[in-house]
Amino acid sequence: MVPTLTGRIQTRIVLLATVGSVLTLLVTPLLPIHAPLGTAYKTTFIILATVIVLGIVWEFIYHFLMQWRWEKDWPTNFGLITLVPEGLVVWLLLNAKLVPGIHGKVPLAAFLIDFLVVWIGVWLVANGPMRVPFLRWRFHGGRLA
């Protein structure tokens, strides 16, 4: 899929909210977090929401960067590589206690597993299976509405 700005944002929100939520549900009990499951879920879902909200800002940045590309495309691997800056920013915010709703310290291992599983899962779905139910999505720059 070669995205437009609205397509990027819509796809990000929808995929993280659906595929991301399912993966968060599945992965949270397995994370090395020493807290009751309820607290763990609260933490991981807040992280997911943070990725969605910050992601909207990121998408503007990516869209801006894309303008330097003649093809106005966003290669598959960019969608993977961008996990590094995005993950880093979320981690820094967590450490600085700037993420509302998360007060304790999130162990690095737990964060990494959670973030990577969700990111890679969403990236895989966006690069293939998404086209199965949404036949027009790839021709509409990732717009779903």
Partner: protein
């Protein structure tokens, strides 16, 4: 020299004129005469265009190959399509009245003795464009009885197979378009790379996919992968049952709505010379209207009757490579597109493989010296004459920003954006770059800017001389061969059906001179009652969607057409549920 064809000429085509195409058993494939010998008359070139199979105007009458499978009389072959009028044998040709009248009635056809076959949806062409459109409709639930594919081809990729083969993409080679441009699969998932991974049990393709396009060239599928997949899907959707062999002569409006499409079946296969298909919808996917020669090369061929030393990359020219294997020689190459790259690779490969001493002089009319474009947000890479781009348009025309942008533009604004992102280009593939670098260093490959004023036979009778004016001054270049890789496309009026359409149905040209279509690929100004005329492919280049002449572009058009037909209540719209269930049917190769 074959006479120039006018839009209403009537003549019988000789077998072999569709070189490499529907070929009668026992009729030798037409080959270029050996060097030094003139091409026999009736070879199929007309004065200003090259006839290659499936390109341009197939003529009125196909020869029925003895014993070949040809369309049975429609009534026998098409249970749901009903023959309304039984015409007496031997009659049933177009009359002057029909030719001159833009809107036809049943009575007019009856009087001419032309039988009428009823079918709601007709697609004309039978190439990749017709195939993907038919595929979409079948997946949307349209039964095969409601669709007819009128074509001179035996299978959908027949023309594509020919064009790629002669332009140096052999069976084991990879084509230009990417992994998810797959005409056999409307979802583009799994992509070809996944299919090849599965088949060959190697992760190499996926790793490659992960690295493209920055750290590796675009991954593109094998030609054979593409053809195999189309064969499989053809079977699954019952494509052959919908295909009717013949050449379409014209499409005319019907009094009361809809259209008549006049088909000329292969000689001897039908009691009448013409059959009329009466339908509510017609889709035109006739491919390239024709190929044109560079004027100086055309002039040379006509004047000296020499079809050996000056060849077009889109016609069989194997003799060039074969001769170069027997003696050293110089080749002048013209053009800066992917076909020039392919031909160049073939020359370099042969040089390397057979230790040849071939010299290559590459003349670019427009010589690109470096990155070019109006500003930092619109710059394309280039060097040594070439403009570089993965596909024939920037990738986002098939779904991203440029697609959205073009969709809003009309007239001059549209033409301007086309100009900006169009132009001849080729992918920057690592292998080609290495070969050219070695060629420049070794002094056997030279690229130059120049305009060829004329071409003449060399005074000593050995080869040809090109008179070139360029930035560096005038130059005479002697060579053994000239390979024209410019692949200029002829005007749409060179195609008889399209010329007729422009003249009689109200269709008109877009800012680039091709057929103007709506965003949903309806030909503007041609609606008739509840009938709609659609077109996709190269004939619609210049419309709201630029990538029309590609597999993916044809699928985008097919989707728009299928959605438009659903809006009109003729078929179901493929929503997420149907899309998913149909995908599973595809995945398990379950016939529909």
């Amino acid at each position: 020299m074959a006479p120039r064809q006018g839009p209403n000429d009537d003549r019988t085509i000789a077998p072999g004129q569709f070189a490499g195409q529907p070929q009668a058993p026992g009729v030798p494939q037409q080959r270029p005469a050996p060097p030094g010998q003139a091409q026999p008359a009736g070879h199929g070139w007309s004065a200003d265009k090259t006839m290659v199979p499936g390109i341009g105007m197939p003529d009125e009458q196909l020869q029925a190959p003895a014993g070949a499978r040809v369309a049975a009389p429609p009534a026998a072959q098409v249970p749901a399509a009903q023959v309304q009028v039984q015409a007496p044998a031997g009659a049933g040709d177009l009359t002057p009245e029909l030719i001159e009248t833009p809107v036809w009635t049943e009575t007019m056809l009856q009087q001419a003795g032309i039988p009428i076959v009823d079918v709601p949806f007709v697609t004309v062409g039978g190439g990749i464009g017709s195939f993907v459109t038919t595929d979409y409709l079948r997946i949307a639930g349209v039964p095969p009885e409601q669709i007819r594919v009128l074509s001179n081809l035996d299978f959908p990729y027949q023309t594509y197979e020919y064009l790629t083969r002669v332009s140096q993409i052999p069976d084991h080679a990879r084509i230009r378009s990417d992994s998810s441009s797959r005409p056999d699969n409307i979802w583009g998932f799994p992509s070809y790379a996944l299919t090849e991974t599965w088949r060959q049990k190697t992760p190499a393709h996926l790793i490659h996919l992960l690295l493209e396009p920055v750290w590796a060239d675009y991954w593109t599928p094998l030609r054979s992968t593409v053809f195999g997949s189309i064969d499989k899907e053809s079977k699954r959707i019952g494509y052959d049952k919908m295909r009717v062999k013949g050449v379409v002569r014209m499409v005319r409006k019907r009094y009361g709505g809809g259209y008549f499409t006049i088909l000329t079946p292969p000689e001897g296969s039908s009691p009448t010379k013409r059959v009329a298909y009466r339908s509510r919808f017609v889709h035109l996917a006739v491919g390239y209207p024709g190929l044109r020669y560079l004027p100086d090369l055309q002039d040379f061929r006509e004047r000296y009757q020499d079809y050996q030393h000056v060849v077009n990359a889109y016609e069989p020219h194997e003799h060039v490579y074969e001769t170069l294997k027997t003696r050293p020689g110089t080749v002048v190459l013209r053009g800066g597109g992917i076909v020039a790259s392919r031909v160049l690779q073939r020359l370099f490969d042969d040089r390397e493989h057979y230790k040849l001493q071939t010299n290559i002089i590459h003349i670019f009319r427009t010589y690109i010296e470096g990155s070019h474009g109006p500003g930092p947000w619109m710059r394309r890479k280039g060097d040594h004459g070439w403009a570089y781009q993965g596909f024939n348009y920037p990738k986002s025309v098939w779904g991203g920003q440029l697609k959205a942008q073009m969709r809003k533009l009309d007239g001059d604004d549209r033409a301007k954006l086309y100009k900006l992102m169009g132009g001849t280009n080729t992918p920057k593939r690592r292998r080609w770059q290495d070969q050219m670098r070695a060629g420049r260093a070794g002094g056997y490959y030279r690229d130059m800017q120049g305009i060829v004023e004329k071409v003449e036979p060399a005074p000593d009778g050995n080869g040809v001389v090109s008179y070139v004016t360029g930035k560096a001054g005038n130059e005479l270049i002697r060579s053994d061969y000239i390979i024209d890789c410019t692949g200029l496309e002829a005007d749409i009026s060179q195609h008889r059906v399209l010329a007729d359409l422009l003249q009689h149905t109200g269709a008109y040209r877009n800012p680039l001179g091709r057929l103007e279509v709506e965003r949903h690929f309806e030909l503007k100004n041609t609606a008739n009652g509840d009938g709609v005329l659609y077109a996709s492919g190269a004939t619609t280049l210049g419309g709201y969607f630029p990538g029309v002449d590609t597999f993916l572009g044809l699928q985008i058009a097919a989707q728009e057409i299928a959605d438009d037909l659903a809006r009109r209540g003729w078929c179901k719209k493929i929503g997420p549920g149907r899309s998913t269930s149909q995908w599973f049917k595809w995945a398990f190769n379950k016939p529909i």
